[in-house]
């Protein structure tokens, strides 16, 4: 072909050219078409960040990383997106994929993140406007933010980057795992060691006696959970940890010991600090195994 123009990686004869070797030109176009469009191709990404490129159009972008990932849509000034462009993304990793807007770009429905094996199409709806359209429907009420596997015989576990502006309320729940002894599991936000107020109703399994327990300007929510050598019991909802408002606690725990009791607590942390991290600490002994999962309640 004397002169060519490239669209999405395929070379076409320029429309003003006189094509001397028509058969060769057709073959070149066909070969290009096969490699770029007709044969499905993947762009396998394994990092924690990625910026979409024009070559992703028509492909499946696979995301695979154990940690959270951010995929950014660049502006049309950087990438010559065509009208109606659609990008297709599948999350094959354990980390959550979040979509972000590049400079000057507006992306709607960014609250729709991709959990493992979820997919979405990113549809260009304007010059620098995109919409996230999940294949699995609208976002559920809860979205997994992080999953932390508890190590062996650890005396405290800190989870960082758990809270952000994306969600106003969170659920923290532990599955699996054991303690080395029976005891409470305290919840501390950030590095704050004062101002924790909470009341807990505790009903003993054996006697059915109702007791009231409290944290009165304590150094943490000391009775948020409970661990035994059989299991860990920790199920907490937090409101506003990232907002500059009081953080509100709702906890429930059922110690797995015959001498224990059902405990439900509510309370608050008396400051307006914005938190991103929390720490769990057993009152006695250590923790081993299990997974701390943090979910965000979709706003």
């Amino acid at each position: 072909m004397a002169g060519t123009t490239t669209y999405y990686g395929i070379s076409y004869p320029t429309n003003t050219d006189y094509v001397k070797d028509g058969a060769s030109a057709i073959q070149t176009v066909a070969t290009g078409f096969d490699s770029a469009v007709a044969i499905p191709t993947y762009n396998a990404q394994t990092g924690t960040t990625y910026t979409f490129a024009l070559t992703d159009v028509g492909k499946t972008v696979t995301a695979s990383n154990a940690s959270a990932q951010t995929y950014t849509i660049p502006p049309t000034a950087s990438v010559a997106w065509a009208t109606g462009t659609t990008l297709y993304v599948i999350n094959l990793g354990a980390g959550v994929v979040t979509f972000a807007a590049g400079a000057g770009v507006t992306v709607t429905n960014t609250a729709q993140t991709l959990q493992t094996y979820q997919s979405a199409r990113l549809v260009r709806t304007g010059l620098n406007a995109w919409t996230v359209t999940p294949d699995s429907g609208t976002a559920s009420g809860l979205t997994l933010v992080s999953a932390t596997t508890i190590g062996t015989t650890v005396s405290s576990v800190a989870v960082t980057s758990a809270f952000s502006a994306t969600y106003d309320a969170y659920k923290i729940i532990i599955t699996g795992g054991v303690g080395s002894a029976s005891g409470n599991i305290a919840l501390q936000l950030g590095s704050t060691t004062t101002g924790y107020y909470a009341g807990y109703t505790d009903i003993n399994y054996g006697t059915a006696v109702l007791s009231g327990l409290s944290n009165n300007n304590a150094a943490s929510f000391t009775l948020a959970g409970y661990g035994t050598t059989a299991a860990l019991s920790f199920n907490v909802d937090l409101q506003n940890p990232f907002l500059t408002k009081n953080t509100i606690l709702n906890s429930s725990t059922g110690p797995t010991t015959t001498g224990g009791g059902s405990r439900i607590g509510t309370g608050y942390l008396a400051n307006t600090t914005s938190y991103t991290d929390f720490t769990l600490t057993p009152s006695s002994g250590t923790l081993t195994g299990g997974t701390i999962r943090v979910y965000g309640y979709n706003n």
Partner: protein, 68 residues
């Protein structure tokens, strides 16, 4: 020869390691404060149970105690 005692393990996200001296100091302070808070809470429970027992010993029924 001086002996060293291994510090408790701390986990930050996926990293598990012995606490630093500063972390260990903060951990012990937090444990002390938490134990104090728990002791105070349990003391209130015990005091209430004691008071209820004394009321029962005075002849009050459970319904009467509950109505107080």
């Amino acid at each position: 020869m001086a002996t060293t005692t291994a510090k408790p393990l701390i986990q930050i996200d996926d990293e598990v390691r012995p606490m630093t001296t500063e972390e260990h100091t903060a951990y012990k302070a937090q444990q002390t404060a938490n134990a104090k808070a728990e002791a105070e809470a349990q003391a209130k429970v015990a005091a209430r149970a004691s008071a209820l027992a004394k009321l029962a010993a005075l002849g009050l029924t459970e319904a009467e105690i509950g109505a107080l």
